[in-house]
């Protein structure tokens, strides 16, 4: 994806004028006025949205009858939004500890695939790898892979990841302390913000590479088709079957 994205910028488009554009953060970044500032600005929006979701997670957990330390500890050591919501949901519904763990783990299986994709980006040191692994989330992977060169990928991963970890945990603590003050977060349209973040981050890759586009379309169609029939977490994993459409380009073989 990286090598493909490097060529995806359209020469001649004045994409520096408005700062980071969702569509072409791949192009000409090294000449950009301040790439880090645009990275911070984009990340901070995701932090804000995650922070509010964190507040609602803390509030929902405590309002449901769990002690304050449960959402707080869970957010620090599990650190995976959807898995936390589902695990707490199962616990509050009286579904039993085994079901709570199984549901959460199923949802997080995808992080194994993500960690393979960003393994090189984390850094080579032991601390970077073991600490960075904990920060592998949908958002940080999308942010990192949307960058054009390895240096920026690493920076994007760590900046978005450390910020997200801090904001998420502070949000959960605040929500657990405040209770249900925020009310239903669906009112703010936040549930649409997360898919929108993913749209903005993956669109350049989809535009640039027809092979990835075909795989992604097939994968998404499979995931949607199977969603009503299987437990949460399975549909997204099944989407990887879309990779069957990922053929080796003929010219590469000829080049050997």
């Amino acid at each position: 994806m990286r090598s493909v994205q490097r060529t995806s910028g359209e020469p001649g488009t004045p994409d520096d004028r408005g700062g980071a554009r969702a569509g072409d953060r791949a192009g000409a970044r090294s000449f950009g006025r301040s790439p880090d500032r645009s990275l911070l600005r984009d990340s901070s929006l995701v932090w804000l949205a995650s922070g509010i979701v964190g507040v609602s997670f803390g509030a929902v957990s405590v309002a449901g009858g769990l002690p304050l330390w449960v959402p707080v500890l869970m957010s620090l050591v599990v650190y995976a939004g959807s898995a936390q919501f589902s695990a707490v949901g199962v616990l509050l519904a009286g579904g039993g500890p085994f079901a709570a763990v199984a549901t959460g783990l199923l949802l997080n299986t995808r992080t194994a695939a993500f960690s393979l994709a960003v393994a090189e980006i984390l850094g080579t040191g032991r601390a970077a790898r073991f600490l960075g692994a904990h920060l592998v989330t949908d958002e940080t992977v999308a942010f990192a892979l949307a960058q054009s060169d390895p240096v920026r990928q690493r920076r994007a991963f760590w900046i978005s990841g450390l910020g997200l970890f801090a904001v998420w945990n502070i949000g959960v603590l605040a929500g657990a302390l405040a209770g249900g003050a925020l009310g239903d977060t669906a009112r703010y349209g936040l549930d649409a913000a997360f898919p929108a973040v993913l749209v903005a981050l993956v669109l350049p890759a989809l535009r640039a590479d027809a092979r990835v586009r075909r795989c992604a379309l097939l994968g998404a169609a499979l995931a949607l088709a199977i969603t009503p029939a299987v437990p949460a977490g399975v549909p997204v994993l099944l989407a990887l079957a879309g990779l069957f459409l990922h053929r080796r380009p003929a010219r590469k073989e000829a080049a050997v």
Partner: protein, 104 residues
């Protein structure tokens, strides 16, 4: 130990193990270029599947019209190369306004 603590620790350990797969394998085994290519493509496939199911479904059923409409607006804005902030805020605002207007 309290059952809730066991649940949290088991979930944490399992999740961290998944997240370690990449960093632990990296440098230990030589991954052929073809596999690296598939890993990158796989990440995009997963993200697109997440966005599709996240936009359209909720608890195994249809998520209603307001959220997909917001995500569609995001897609159009991103396609026109609107800034990231505009894409995300546009989606949330569209969904929120539709809900105010009574669209679920």
């Amino acid at each position: 130990m309290n059952t809730t603590v066991v649940v949290i620790l088991a979930l944490a350990a399992g999740t961290y193990a998944f997240r370690l797969v990449g960093p632990v394998l990296h440098g230990r085994v030589t991954v052929p270029p073809r596999m690296q290519e598939l890993a990158s493509a796989g990440a995009v496939v997963l993200l697109v599947a997440l966005l599709a199911t996240g936009a359209l479904t909720e608890g195994g059923g249809f998520a209603g019209w307001a959220r997909p409409a917001g995500v569609l607006v995001a897609g159009l804005l991103a396609w026109r190369r609107a800034p990231f902030v505009v894409v995300v805020v546009g989606a949330a605002a569209t969904t929120a306004l539709l809900r105010v207007a009574g669209v679920a």
